[in-house]
Symmetry: C3
């Protein structure tokens, strides 16, 4: 399954419009190039509609949200929706400030997302804020654990059904689900938490995978999550005894650059979660 | 002394709110992760109070100052002051433009800083502008030299007394002082001047050290300066014959990631300046 | 010829004011340091005139253009013009949105540029928009090829004459021309297209070369293009079998740091295009 998704990115070479934060913008641009796509970073209200029109996908990340961002994101999102381009949403820091939470919830109402990708806490904030939760049982745990996997998968599938998006919750174990099916993914390495931008890069790369494989949104998003996790494992393996998080970041992007569809197929560790 | 400061960072793992420039924001985030802290970059007026409230320390850097920054910095700074969170100030480029100098001086009046860290020229601008200097003798030299060390230490201590902050002046020789005591630090490597952001990264890391060791502000700031200098030495040692400033930057962050409290204790070269 | 240009940068160590995008700002700052210059990134209207006054050259890049940028660029550009400082213009993404194209054309009217550097498509947009083209023959091809080299060189020289700038069009083959003479440069490596910011870094570095060699604008710009291409070749040569675009970016900056005038002289591959 995942092999074809990466092959698609390498064939289509999709141009991805990113409205993103200034902390990890460079890493997001380089990971898009690494996987076979091309980035265009543009966030001004005056031009986002033009820019998104010449692209195949849109990646929205609210990492360093500012007053200029919101109207630009709305314009770009609506235009991408009108054109049928997939839009990926990374609700960075939802829950960390009222403004960020409100903005994330507003975007959820006004833009139709192909994929929503965040960590457990961010997705939980979206679920709570959009009134999806039905009591404590339905809540998302702080960490996805093997014990609570099926229960958590049910929560994520329900949120996917409500939003019409594929939902990817990443952590030690990753879940990628649409309304019907949830993939559980075991790739990854703890060192990915030691760099800034692992999540941002994954969201940008997911936009590339989905834009190149638009009729297989769920599989494309799951393949992107597998690819990032597998490259984290490879990057860690390359780290010598003097290597730290800066080298790890570089090796992670390098691994995405080098990754072949066959390696991804062999290295991907995913399974379908049964309810 | 310095060993305990780094051990504190690794134990407390403080969340640090950074309002910083877009040039070195990624490096600042990664160095915070490297030393054992966690970064949150957020600079919009609408959310900085919320964000700083969930953190343990605030790092303010005016590297790419803009009209949006000043009200956000003031709001975050006042909130952090009200909560008793340490605030570190990096007056990047004070003296390079009237606007930057005025902003730095205004912040000095309206926010209570735990640490002020800059190069000689920046700190001199603050001293001059805030009316601390008493004639030429009291001025800060362009470069801190061994010959003028005690005289310079006296100027820095006086500025520390006036502001209530620990003041760190970094260069070939570094001085870190409060009103009573000045540490002189000999760690570091000239190659640190060949990368952008060595100062910004040090300021962010100082916020982590001070936030994790709030009752030892002076020692914590001095330990951060020793750690950065020592890691600069280690990074240079790792540079092969093809290595340049890009590899040096990566190795510097790597070294911060790898640094143990024991290595810091052994490698730190500091002394108290008399009188 | 090119040897002296790099030697000039190392001797003069020019301070370069950059108004640039947040995606590649860090790389631009580090490449300026690598080549022997120093960067100041400042883009707020309130301070750009002060900042550009203490510098020797100005580099303008519209990569992440926003509403705040245009008045700041105009103020800085006019001040630099008044002071006789060379201004380099990188019209990133001209043609990708109406706003970016219009802004690029407006800047072309209101600021006098020493060098304009872009890819074929960006320069073509400027030529078309400023009414320079005279029918299809005069247009710039998408890719500069050996077959169309002289024809293309004539188009570029004409645009140089019209604007009074040295024009650098970079791609597989690079052309650097003033009204009279066009250099064709064969240095470079296809992998440079796999990183973000190769063009931005070259523009920033060109500002350093021209600021340090103001009476040899054409030769200085051509030398910068040769140097970047040669360092791309060196960076590729250093890439091991696990290396990807992140390592390539680091090695490229490293190579610029290590490059000596003699190596540049020996490695530069340029010729004058006739007629």
């Amino acid at each position: 399954m995942v092999k074809e998704m990466l092959a698609g990115v390498r064939t289509v070479r999709p141009l991805i419009h990113c409205i993103t934060n200034y902390v990890t913008a460079n890493d997001c641009a380089n990971i898009l190039l690494a996987c076979g796509a091309s980035p265009v970073m543009a966030d001004d209200e005056t031009e986002v509609e033009d820019v998104t029109s010449i692209c195949r996908g849109l990646s929205i990340n609210i990492g360093t949200l500012n007053s200029r961002s919101v109207p630009a994101i709305l314009k770009a999102g609506r235009r991408a929706n009108a054109l049928g381009h997939p839009v990926v949403f990374d609700p960075v820091g939802a829950g960390a400030s009222a403004h960020r939470t409100e903005t994330a919830l507003r975007l959820l109402k006004e833009v139709r997302f192909a994929v929503i990708r965040g960590n457990s806490s961010e997705i939980r904030t979206l679920i709570a804020g959009s009134g999806t939760t039905r009591g404590v049982d339905a809540d998302l745990a702080d960490q996805i654990t093997e014990e609570k996997l099926e229960e958590t998968a049910a929560v994520v599938r329900r949120f996917a059904r409500q939003t019409g998006a594929v939902v990817a919750v990443t952590g030690a174990i990753d879940l990628v689900a649409d309304a019907e099916t949830a993939y559980c993914i075991d790739n990854g390495h703890p060192m990915m938490r030691s760099i800034t931008g692992a999540g941002c890069m994954l969201s940008a790369m997911t936009a590339a995978y989905v834009a190149a494989n638009p009729v297989h949104r769920l599989e494309a998003a799951a393949a992107a999550v597998c690819a990032m996790g597998l490259c984290g494992e490879k990057a860690f393996g390359r780290l010598g005894e003097a290597g730290g998080n800066a080298s790890f970041r570089n090796y992670l992007i390098d691994a995405v650059y080098r990754l072949t569809p066959e390696e991804l197929e062999q290295g991907a560790r995913y399974r379908i979660c049964r309810p």
